[in-house]
């Protein structure tokens, strides 16, 4: 294991040495091209030049510092609460394995709630202050911590548990001595993804009516056509996200943790009895409805904006005008899916495709991978308006935003999967002097599939987040824009209907991908399904 880690560490450094340009020079070249393009297109208000961005940062350093401090404070609090919730949820699932399907489904459902809809509701619940910012930051991170920690808690070999049991010790001892230490590297992997997400959540939270913060400044800058300000904030958000990503990674190395074996969760095993899956799904639905209604009743939220499940039913099915409202909702959802679907597939395809390409030409990896890891951490709020500005408000812009959101995590997960191809299998292909392509198709592709599918499942909430954010902030179409509109015109029946429909669509898409995954993996890597 230690030898494997050594090569991992040595790899990029060795490749970097072969890089034709020294690092600083390459960066300078990029900045120069950027500056040139920006100056050439100054009239169209798309790209700010690096010199303008730097100028804005210097002349507004006090303002940016204070805003950054405010956003960071919310992000850090949300990071702590969200990760705590993710870890506790994973512990709960491990201690109550029977509740796994239910808890996982609810966790996914809550994670898929669109920011644009949850924001105003949280603002009403909390009143003034940083409550919504912190909560949205927490909501943005708990799921991506929950999944790897759950895998980590279960990643230990059976022998370690037998050891604990052979001394007559129970679950709590196994948790303390085996599961928790084994989950630590997985926690670090989760925290790494969480750090940029928390920052994004805090920024979106500020859209709900905050006094200060980078989110506030973003809105102001976009509306004022203040290009240097918009780009300066995007650069800061991207920079802090990359820094946080790197810092958590460095902390993990400092603790000398072995890198996790598998980054993402295997699919929930197929149930033994045929009626079990539908029954569990119904149970999850009932629980979701109960929590929805119960929490509103407990907090005594006014029906004017806190619509109960029965209000949504009335609005969409039995009430007056239900048909027209249903038609409007489904039209918006259809419009959204028509963009989210291609973006989702393009992101997955490009991510997996590039990972395979890099397996054929490993030298490229040294240049591409660090860049991808860095870009993965840039929050969508910074990129979405820029991409749409650049590519226009049509389908291309939105599809690109979704694809970009999915592309980087997929690439990294697939690379991880490829690296897990058993050495002996590769040696076998080597012995017969097979072509790289044959090796790729015969050995590496099957080894990559579990990671690919895990990534495909994780990409569903990411796609929803990306498409609704792009629609809301940039294109003004689809269900993202519908939710923003109805929230401002007090059409809360439609808002809650849209939330429920998006949640349902997300869970169904997740189930669909999981079913496909089981079908494919049953042919290629049955051992992944054995647990």
């Amino acid at each position: 294991m230690s030898a494997g880690r050594g090569t991992l560490r040595g790899g990029p450094a060795a490749l970097r040495a072969q890089h034709p340009l020294p690092r600083g020079l390459g960066l300078l070249l990029v900045l120069l091209i950027w500056e040139g393009v920006a100056r050439a297109t100054a009239g169209s208000f798309i790209i700010a030049a690096p010199s303008q961005i730097a100028g804005y940062m210097v002349s507004h350093s006090g303002l940016l510092w204070r805003a950054f401090g405010a956003t960071l404070a919310s992000a850090v609090q949300g990071f702590v609460w969200g990760n705590l919730a993710g870890v506790l949820l994973a512990l709960l699932v491990v201690l109550l394995p029977r509740g796994e399907r239910l808890l996982s489904a609810l966790a996914l459902l809550v994670f898929c709630l669109p920011l644009v809809a949850t924001g105003p509701i949280l603002r009403v619940l909390y009143g003034p202050g940083t409550g919504p910012q912190v909560t949205l930051a927490a909501l943005a991170v708990y799921y991506t911590t929950f999944l790897p920690v759950l895998v980590g808690l279960r990643a230990a070999p059976q022998g370690w548990f037998d050891l604990v049991r052979s001394y007559g010790r129970g679950r709590m001892t196994a948790l303390r001595e085996v599961r928790l230490p084994a989950a630590l590297p997985y926690l670090v992997a989760g925290l790494q993804i969480a750090a940029p997400a928390a920052f994004l959540g805090a920024m979106v939270g500020e859209f709900t009516g905050a006094e200060r913060g980078l989110g506030v400044l973003t809105v102001r800058a976009l509306r004022a056509l203040d290009l240097p300000a918009t780009w300066a904030i995007a650069v800061i958000a991207a920079g802090v996200s990359m820094l946080a990503f790197a810092a958590v990674g460095a902390l993990g190395r400092r603790l000398d943790l072995a890198p996790p074996e598998v980054l993402m969760a295997p699919p929930v095993a197929r149930s033994r009895r045929p009626w079990e899956a539908p029954a569990q799904a119904l149970l999850a639905l009932a629980a979701a409805l109960l929590i929805w209604k119960g929490s509103m009743e407990v907090f005594g939220l006014p029906r004017f904006f806190a619509k109960r499940p029965e209000d949504v039913w009335f609005y969409l099915v039995t009430g007056p005008g239900a048909e027209a409202q249903r038609a409007r909702l489904f039209a918006a959802l259809g419009e959204t899916l028509a963009l989210a679907g291609p973006g989702y597939l393009a992101g997955l395809g490009l991510g997996a495709g590039l990972a395979l390409l890099l397996a054929l030409a490993p030298r490229l990896g040294g240049a591409v991978i660090p860049l991808s890891i860095a870009l993965r951490s840039i929050p969508i709020i910074a990129t979405a308006p820029l991409i749409v500005w650049a590519l226009g408000r049509g389908a291309a812009g939105t599809i690109t935003v979704v694809a970009v959101m999915i592309f980087f995590p997929t690439l990294i997960a697939c690379r991880h999967g490829l690296a897990r191809t058993p050495r002996a299998v590769l040696d076998l292909f080597e012995v017969y002097a097979s072509s790289p392509l044959r090796r790729l198709l015969g050995a590496q592709l099957p080894a990559m599939l579990p990671a690919f599918f895990a990534s495909a499942r994780m990409a569903i909430p990411a796609a929803i987040l990306a498409v609704t954010t792009a629609e809301w902030l940039a294109t003004g179409r689809g269900i993202g824009a519908l939710m923003a509109t109805v929230a401002s015109t007090s059409d809360y029946g439609m808002l809650w209907s849209a939330i429920a429909l998006v949640g349902l669509a997300a869970v169904l898409a997740h189930a669909l991908v999981a079913a496909l995954e089981r079908a494919v993996l049953a042919r290629t890597s049955a051992e992944q399904l054995a647990r």
């Binding site: 009143g127 859209f207 059409d491 809360y492």
Partner: protein
């Protein structure tokens, strides 16, 4: 309608900061009632009169401690008023009408913008000076605002089929980049932003072409009107006095906005221009005669008419002048 009494912050460690500050603040002669005014957007000179009211102590003298809650692109305005977090909210007649049709127990108790700020902004070499000019043009707007365009066309007898609507979000880039010929926007923000960026533009105010919708309206619940009249009167009195100061010196209001909210990223030149542009929308012969915020049966009737075209039928009872009458009386 029964309103559940909500605590100010429902859960997760909220602090009653405004109430606490009011109780603990030393040197005050009398106890202050802590209330909140929910603004409809981020802090800017758009609410300059309120800032002047606070700075000049008009509320403090009336025994009121008013916290100004900023809005934002994803901020709810009407719900905090329903929930009781805010005593008064700044809405607009069309939004208020929509909320009332959804069962919210609101009344409009004052009107800050007599003329609706919606405008069509275009570039000078391809200008839109009248609704008829819209035919054959590409207009950039949020699809949510389609009813506004429909109302404008139907008032002015323009065939909406001749206008190509391009869905955009709310910024001026599509116009500057040439993706659209004109934009549906507020006269007080995107044209101001363009001018500051050195892009000249032409604006056509919808209000000058029959579109009568009160904007920046003060809303309160029926419950507050019945049970918290004193606070409403005190709050509105401060607003009226603040906006009178604003009218006297908009530039000072712009400077105060920048000074009061150093973290809002406000730019003094922009604020001054915006302050100047919103004066004709807020002050008219009517306000000269009756005072800031006033409305009459005629203006209300014109609003009811336009709101009907917007698909938001309301009764004139939505407007309640009793608070203003006490303030000005």
């Amino acid at each position: 309608m029964h309103l559940p009494t909500l605590t100010r912050r429902l859960f997760l460690g909220g602090t009653l900061s405004t109430a606490g500050a009011a109780l603990l603040a030393p040197g005050r002669a009398r106890a202050q009632d802590a209330v909140a005014l929910q603004l409809s957007w981020l802090h800017s000179v758009q609410f300059g009169g309120s800032y002047l009211a606070r700075k000049n102590g008009y509320w403090r003298d009336a025994g009121l401690e008013v916290s100004l809650l900023p809005g934002g692109p994803n901020a709810p305005v009407e719900p905090p008023v329903v929930a009781g977090t805010a005593l008064v909210g700044i809405s607009a007649a069309d939004y208020t009408a929509a909320a009332v049709n959804q069962g919210a127990p609101f009344r409009i108790i004052g009107v800050a913008m007599q003329k609706n700020p919606f405008a069509i902004a275009s570039l000078p070499d391809n200008p839109v000076n009248s609704p008829a000019d819209l035919v054959g043009k590409k207009i950039g707007m949020a699809l949510a605002n389609t009813p506004v365009l429909e109302a404008l066309c139907s008032i002015n007898g323009v065939d909406i089929g001749g206008i190509e609507v391009v869905p955009t979000q709310y910024d001026a880039a599509p116009l500057v980049q040439g993706q659209v010929d004109c934009l549906l926007c507020w006269a007080t923000d995107l044209p101001v932003a363009m001018e500051i960026q050195g892009v000249e533009s032409v604006t056509m105010l919808l209000a000058d072409h029959g579109y009568s919708v009160h904007s920046q309206t003060y809303i309160a619940t029926e419950d507050s009107l019945a049970n918290r009249r004193d606070q409403l009167v005190a709050l509105m009195k401060g607003e009226v006095m603040g906006w009178q100061d604003y009218q006297a010196d908009p530039e000072a209001a712009a400077a105060l906005s920048v000074e009061m909210f150093p973290d809002a990223g406000l730019d003094l030149a922009t604020q001054k221009l915006q302050a100047e542009r919103q004066v004709p929308l807020m002050f008219s012969d009517l306000t000269e005669a009756e005072g800031f915020g006033w409305f009459t049966e005629e203006t209300v009737a014109a609003n009811v008419e336009t709101l009907k075209l917007l698909g938001k039928p309301v009764s004139p009872d939505l407007w309640d002048r009793s608070i203003l009458e006490e303030v000005h009386g």
